[in-house]
Symmetry: C2
Subunit: 522 residues, 2 copies
Amino acid sequence: MSYKVLRFFKNRSTLLRLHNPVVSYNFTKCIATSSQCKIQEEVAKLLALKAQLAPEDAAPQKFSLKTPKGTRDYNPQQMSLRNGVLDKIVTIFKRHGGECIDTPVFELKDVLTGKYGEDSKLIYDLKDQGGEILALRYDLTVPLARYLAMNKINSLKRYHIGKVYRRDNPAMTRGRYREFYQCDFDIAGQYDPMVPDAECLKVVTEILESLDIGQYVLKVNHRRLLDGMFEVCGVPSDKFRTACSAVDKLDKSPWEEVRNEMINEKQISPDAADRIGEYVRLNGGTELVEKLLKDEKLAKSKAAIEGLEGVKLLLEYCELFGIKDKILFDLSLARGLDYYTGVIYEAVLTQPIKVGNEEQTVGSVAAGGRYDNLVGMFDSKHKQVPCVGLSIGVERIFSVMEAKLAAGVISVRTNDIDVYVASAQKNFLEERMKICAELWNAGIKTEQSYKKNPKMLNQLQYCEDNGVPFAVVLGESELKRGVVKVRNVTSRQEDEIPREKLVEELKARIAALSVKDVNGSA
Amino acid sequence: MSYKVLRFFKNRSTLLRLHNPVVSYNFTKCIATSSQCKIQEEVAKLLALKAQLAPEDAAPQKFSLKTPKGTRDYNPQQMSLRNGVLDKIVTIFKRHGGECIDTPVFELKDVLTGKYGEDSKLIYDLKDQGGEILALRYDLTVPLARYLAMNKINSLKRYHIGKVYRRDNPAMTRGRYREFYQCDFDIAGQYDPMVPDAECLKVVTEILESLDIGQYVLKVNHRRLLDGMFEVCGVPSDKFRTACSAVDKLDKSPWEEVRNEMINEKQISPDAADRIGEYVRLNGGTELVEKLLKDEKLAKSKAAIEGLEGVKLLLEYCELFGIKDKILFDLSLARGLDYYTGVIYEAVLTQPIKVGNEEQTVGSVAAGGRYDNLVGMFDSKHKQVPCVGLSIGVERIFSVMEAKLAAGVISVRTNDIDVYVASAQKNFLEERMKICAELWNAGIKTEQSYKKNPKMLNQLQYCEDNGVPFAVVLGESELKRGVVKVRNVTSRQEDEIPREKLVEELKARIAALSVKDVNGSA
């Protein structure tokens, strides 16, 4: 027998996943590195034996009952939280004239190719089943650019909320999944400098304030200024992007690490790196812009001046919008994505969020910037449609709220039922049904038990568990007198109401309720 | 050169798609049928030549700017219509206590295997990129069953609206796509017979009435009755399902065709087919149930009696819910899906919908039934959770409404802006920005031009094109006097309002507006 082989692999810490279709892949890799043909033979024998032992067709259907790696179901509580958050965000998108669009969850693979640099390896491909070669969308920005170019649209203010897909290493405890929501607002069109850009910042502040998730700062920078800064620090122009991706790590790593990466991995000279180091530790407001405009080195770069003039104008507009106290001009903000061409920004929570006794550092909750060249990549004549946009980090926000929910800090109703129709005695199903129909027809959110003869206690318990405010309680003696009891579930107060006035009475009581659930929605 | 081969394929009407990755697939098929090895050789040469001529890496990136076959983008008008329809449907799901869940758009392939019979070939598989073998969900029912079994949930009333995927031959003009929305409501749990089933029918009627799409009939039947009927007609039990799928075609085909299919394709005896023919032409109400309960043949079948008793009880409950006039007990209703075990139903519009001068036959707009065994397929101990549910045919409803929209029968606003801040003179951007911020902060849906000095005419035109009811018009002389003009866009009436009362005044005017758009939403 081939247990020898088995042990060999185990000894090399290679997981032998006999029941896993990737087994051949793992073996192949291993063999390629070890170059031992003998192993290959033994493995083939082993697999042949395995095939004999459990032919796939004959085996009983067995599978692990789970969702795919990096994905999850959303239960009613989670959906209630999510819908509450998304409703608030959409309200603000609409307040600014946002129109909603949707695009297919998959695109022709070619549409996504060449848009995400190194990250392209994270794209989910569909199997070639004959026909077109497809892949799941990686974000909502590239589909927007494809949509604008395909339909020859020159201006659009749109929002789009949808799931996107990345074959990333999921860190689910930190709210990072392979399937997750994006929530984007973008303004496309040829307009005057910084006017739509400033409105995007205003939208971010309105959303973060309406979600009430704590203190935040909205960092801004400009791609042209970064380019100019690299230029005057002596970075060759073909290394601007790679320098940018190094600087982008400054929110997580100290300068020393970033400096080492620049010098050792990106082949940027130590002198240049040190000059960059001087700049990227700067942050402030308009006074910093003014100071940098007078910086002798930066003044030599057209790009730097353009960037600085842009930031200056943006800060003026932020002042007019009354949000300047939230804005921090920060030269260390770089943003990884290649496609940005102008202003870039990122909102960061400045305090950890308390969940029970634990503190959770959340970090970035919104980000975006200007990308003027992306639409042109899809147009046969490279016609540009300038765009600026923002993305709300809804998954991080959800994960904070879910943690709060789990810790009992907040609560949420998963159904909105206002009235439960109950009966204290047997054989009242028919009467309950008639009353339910009457209430439903009047638009009243109503439930009843699906059992013919439910126990009174269970019915009242259901109301308490689900936060149902009112119960209609049917009883023989009351019905004979033409009345029903209406019970306030919280106070346990019961009143007799004439049967024919029931709808009217319930409507009045529901309207009078000023109970607001955590979503703030009705 | 191999132009000979090229001509050969063209002559055989085989499309030679040199720029298409499926080329090898098409060739292989062709070769397999012709068995001409010589062709294979020539093709190989041709492909080698092609590879030399245009190596993939060197070729400029070219692709057709389109969405994948059978999919589409939804523009703001379509989304506005859709969101309006879905809002109404969700309102009714919530009125009945429905809770919202969501599941990943893909599942482990094994979860979907063996649930859809022949239609499994329509499932979209993801490419094996190492890791798990995944496929896009085909409906929302199997994910619900997986969710219930995985989380050991015994009862749940849930709704779920999401996209599902089928590699079907799209008939997009008739509203059939490869990516489309499903909109499901299901009640899971062990309850008394027909109580939740009747509520599902009530939900369907409420939805169809709230959508106001015309007269409809809600056909009901019972799988046990169908089984009993086939039994007493002499169909062997292993042919019940196939007989069912033949009967299912009666809504599209005349009885003669269905009879022929039964006899010639399904090997059902002509006698049995004729007996089935007698039954499936029957439809009616409670009186038909009573008549069939006395039918000598059916009385011999336990299944038939169970089915009939079920329908009888269901009709009683429908009477209590006040919807019996919408219900038609119809023995020809069969429903294709294997997993139904009890009552089945389908709502059909009885009149074609008029769109301009054309009439459109819509057919089925909602359907569902009881499936008591599906959850058990996912449970290691085969523990059952009985379920009954309904699916609203939202795509058909959308396509009717889109046709109406295109014909100008209905109109829809794509943004909800209430106020546009305009200026008649140059250099008012700063003042406009301040006022916009003030209105946004007060929750007023406001827009302005993103240009520094927009033309007055363009600004007012924007309001008219987008149905914006009010414009705030800034002017130098007014601002000096501490007032601004508020213009009613429709009536063109302008009033001077003190600057400090602007928010208050606009709020009052917006509240007074009783304009309802086609969605009926604010």
